[in-house]
């Protein structure tokens, strides 16, 4: 364990070096004062998740479109760690000149703080949100062996039900724990590392139900290997029009994953406007629309202010739900 003492110093030095390297290309004194020249060199888009996941794919689709309009390359930088908190803290600490952007997920702001300690949680006020992107819905699926074909089957089963989640402090966990409480059903929360193993566990009937993102569940739903019981979005999902929402079924638990592009706090307004214009241009392109469709994402192209209000509302709502039903996301009942 001899490496622990030196860690922080090295880390500090390392990020200083990275900072230097990044500011070297934008070598204008004060950076932000000369925002008419924006973008000044490549605009990096940091993703707090590993390459290949849905968040990463969205970042790449945005960077492809926005870099054309901005006239500067927009490399996607994957910096996985702590559900994205690591990347968020890093970008929030960068100079507010619009050269360093972040693709931020709502769950990190609205749900993860319910499961981790305060100093590990992310505050949306540390960022300037540029634009909301899309909504990624959660669907509750049941295994064949469970015999559940509708939410009524589940609530009427009258026994303890094991449910898989995609991890602690995720929308999947929150949605199910709240749903089970509201329905008065006893359930055991079994966390998996991500959506894929949670889905596999349903396929193999290791757990009876699980809540995962639609894009991941869709192939198995179509193949008839798992039964979709409900979606947690406020309105029905256009890719799954026959599946009721939790709200329709009488449960007040609106959960979905939202994503937005953010910049460090204090980014000049004209820089933000340029970025927003570039992103909106991307929204209009056919290839981006096609991308959303292919990945079962519902466009939620709203302004930064709206993102902040909505996410804060969700955070407050989840907090009150958790308190009301005396739920602890960290598994200590």
């Amino acid at each position: 364990m001899m490496h622990f003492p030196s860690r922080r110093t090295v880390l500090g030095a390392a990020s200083a070096v990275t900072l230097l390297a990044l500011t070297a290309c934008g070598n204008v004194a004060g950076g932000s004062t000369d925002s008419s020249k924006y973008p000044n060199g490549p605009v990096s888009l940091t993703v707090g998740q590993a390459a290949g996941g849905s968040t990463d794919l969205i970042a790449r689709a945005i960077s492809e479109g926005a870099s054309k309009t901005l006239g500067a390359p927009m490399p996607v930088v994957n910096k996985p760690g702590a559900n994205g908190a690591l990347a968020t803290k890093e970008v929030a600490g960068k100079p507010a000149d619009g050269q360093n952007l972040l693709l931020v997920t709502a769950s990190l702001v609205t749900i993860t703080p319910l499961a981790v300690t305060a100093d590990e949680a992310v505050n949306i006020d540390d960022l300037d949100i540029i634009a909301g992107l899309s909504q990624d819905d959660y669907v509750l699926v049941a295994s064949k062996a469970s015999g559940f074909n509708s939410i009524k089957d589940l609530t009427g089963a009258g026994r303890n039900i094991t449910f898989g989640t995609t991890g602690v402090g995720t929308g999947s966990q929150l949605a199910q724990t709240v749903l089970f409480k509201q329905a008065g059903v006893k359930g055991t929360d079994v966390p998996f590392d991500s959506g894929k193993p949670a889905l596999t566990a349903v396929l193999g009937n290791q757990v009876e139900v699980s809540t995962i993102q639609l894009g991941e569940a869709m192939p198995q739903i179509k193949a008839g290997k798992v039964a979709p019981l409900l979606v947690f979005s406020e309105e029905r999902n256009s890719f799954l029009p026959d599946v009721p929402t939790a709200k329709e079924s009488g449960y007040d638990v609106p959960v979905a994953q939202y994503r937005a592009v953010a910049a460090p706090k204090g980014t000049p307004k004209d820089v933000k406007d340029k970025l927003l214009a570039a992103i909106q241009e991307t929204f209009k392109s056919d290839s981006y629309k096609e991308f959303n469709k292919k990945n079962m994402l519902t466009p939620k192209e709203i302004s930064g202010e709206e993102v902040v209000t909505q996410w804060k509302d969700y955070a407050a709502k989840y907090k009150s739900l958790v308190e009301k039903y005396d739920i602890s996301l960290s598994g200590t009942k």
């Binding site: 001899m2 490496h3 622990f4 030196s6 860690r7 922080r8 090295v10 880390l11 030095a13 390392a14 990020s15 070096v17 990275t18 590993a50 390459a51 290949g52 996941g53 930088v77 994957n78 910096k79 996985p80 760690g81 702590a82 559900n83 908190a85 690591l86 803290k89 499961a115 981790v116 300690t117 100093d119 590990e120 303890n160 094991t162 991890g167 602690v168 402090g169 055991t188 929360d189 079994v190 966390p191 998996f192 590392d193 894929k196 193993p197 596999t200 566990a201 396929l203 193999g204 009937n205 290791q206 757990v207 996301l329 960290s330 598994g331 200590t332």
Partner: protein
């Protein structure tokens, strides 16, 4: 015939030009490092891991696999010609191989080794081809309980991994298990040993540990070793073994294939143990055991067949169960994870292109090796003249650069340096790094699967015995607990009977 369709599609994948190219690059690198006594395949794969990041998953694994089995061929060359085993798995080849070379039969020895390797490797691929779908058909029955049992079995074998001292292996494995606990508890969100550092929230990444312990540690350790100057190798003529030689060796090749195949599948087994076991078996079976050590063709053909068969069959537990059987497979596991592919029973079904692409690339790779190894012997031997003073800094630099590129993280680079020093010190004090890394990988699997199963079972541990597969695995666990004793006996016998001082020196290598 449905079963064969994906297999045939796998060939289509392999025959894509880029995959063929990477297969060739892999086996050439494998042969090169096989010739070099310092660098083993585990170290090389650790160093090259990040380079595969931007390549298609199947291509990357094809190349890395090529390095692994290619090294088994390369190691033979120096064993026979210079009495200098390039790989731990070729140590026993020295006994009879070098004697044959002295008698002017170097070509025959190499020819036999190549043919044996080819047959052993191919036999294992065929075994893999038929076994994988069987395991995969149980794929969905593999739940948390089964993984707990598997991981438990794996850790037991890791802790008793043969080569070094048992206590030291146990200590290394325990450290590996401890390291696996670092990070956010995935069941409660509680931070463990992170000291408030977000970099550690997801735990320590496997790749920097492997790159440090195997890559950098190995480079540092080699700097300390004084290499014997490469002398001119014996002339290699007439690589085609005579009919009598072939006849003498054919039994050994057949037995080596079977033995290697099974020892490769066993967690904790692998090429080195297979070669030693095969040598011991051949010697025991021989009508005139006194010929061994004096240039008996079986003494070359058997072990060389077995080590290749084992190298190939050790892919079985990884690709079908997601359990790495040895250190090199742990690195393959890491490579797959970097690529976003989680190896496990679902792999064959979910990603048949990748699975069969990799498996079938081994046929091609083995053919390439067979073609290359004989005519290019002279060139490969020249590699030995590259001085460590040049090789070491270059490889160290590649390692550190590579570590940065995976997550764009300087923290990872720091980890590699720290674990490089740990790896160096471990080797210096006679600890095997293998158990540490394997226990690290299996430790997190065991913890999460065990806790998950207990949640599913409502806290009742007898639940493990209500499921057929986990019950069977746990029974095997008990049975296997006795096996290492027998195997060590076998290995001990081999080493005892040979009075070659090199053995002790080389066997420390993974």
């Amino acid at each position: 015939m449905d079963f064969l369709n994906p297999v045939i599609n796998g060939f289509v994948v392999v025959l894509e030009p880029s995959n063929l190219l990477y297969c060739l690059i892999g086996v050439v690198i494998g042969m090169l490092i096989g010739v070099l006594p310092g660098l083993g395949p585990a170290a090389t794969i650790a160093i090259l891991l990040p380079l595969t990041y931007n390549v298609e998953p199947v291509t990357a694994i094809i190349m890395l696999a090529g390095i692994f089995y290619g090294a088994q061929y390369g190691g033979t060359i120096t064993s026979v010609l210079l009495r200098l085993p390039g790989e731990a798995s070729s140590v026993v080849t020295v006994f009879d191989g070098y004697q044959m070379a002295k008698q002017g039969k170097a070509g025959t020895a190499l020819g036999l080794a190549s043919i044996g390797s080819f047959i052993g490797g191919t036999a294992s691929i065929i075994g893999l081809t038929f076994l994988a779908p069987v395991v995969a058909s149980f794929a969905l029955d593999f739940g948390p309980a089964e993984y707990s049992a598997l991981a438990l079995l794996g850790i037991l074998l890791v802790a008793t991994i043969s080569n070094g001292a048992k206590t030291k292996a146990l200590i290394a494995a325990a450290v590996g298990l401890l390291l696996a606990t670092v990070g956010r508890d995935i069941f409660t969100g509680e931070s463990r040993f992170t000291f408030g550092n977000l970099e550690l929230a997801d735990g320590i990444d496997f790749v920097p540990i492997a790159m440090g312990v195997f890559g950098l540690g190995e480079i540092l350790y080699n700097l300390e070793e004084r290499h014997r100057a490469a002398k001119a190798p014996s002339k290699v003529t007439n690589v085609w073994p005579s009919r009598t030689d072939l006849k003498q060796a054919s039994g050994a090749i057949a037995r080596g294939s079977v033995l290697g195949f099974f020892l490769g599948i066993l967690p904790g087994g692998g090429a080195t143990i297979a070669s030693m076991a095969s040598y011991a078996m051949e010697k025991k079976r021989a009508k005139q055991p006194e010929r061994f050590g004096k240039g008996a063709p079986e003494g070359v053909a058997g072990p060389e067949t077995a080590n290749n068969a084992a190298a190939t069959s050790s892919f079985i537990p990884l690709l079908t169960l997601g359990i790495p059987a040895n250190a090199t497979m742990a690195l393959m596991f890491g490579a797959l994870l970097i690529q976003g592919v989680t190896p496990g029973p679902q792999l064959v079904e979910q990603d048949p292109g990748l699975f069969w692409g990799v498996v079938n690339s081994m046929y091609i790779g083995n053919i390439l090796l067979l073609i290359m190894s004989l005519p290019l012997v002279g060139i490969f031997v020249k590699i030995l003249r590259v001085r460590a003073a040049i090789l070491a800094p270059v490889t160290a630099l590649i390692t550190l650069l590579g570590a940065y590129t995976i997550n764009n993280s300087m923290f990872d680079v720091t980890l590699v340096v720290v674990f490089g020093i740990v790896g160096y010190l471990m080797k210096k004090f006679g600890f095997e790094p293998g158990p540490l890394v394997l226990a690290f990988v299996l430790g997190s699997l065991l913890e999460s699967s065990l806790r998950r199963s207990l949640l599913v079972f409502g806290g009742d541990p007898t639940g493990f015995f209500t499921r057929p597969i986990s019950a069977t695995l746990l029974t095997v666990f008990v049975l296997v607990a006795v096996l290492p004793g027998i195997r060590t006996l076998l290995a001990k016998r081999t080493t005892a009977q040979s009075e070659q001082p090199i053995t002790t020196k080389i066997k420390e290598k993974v």
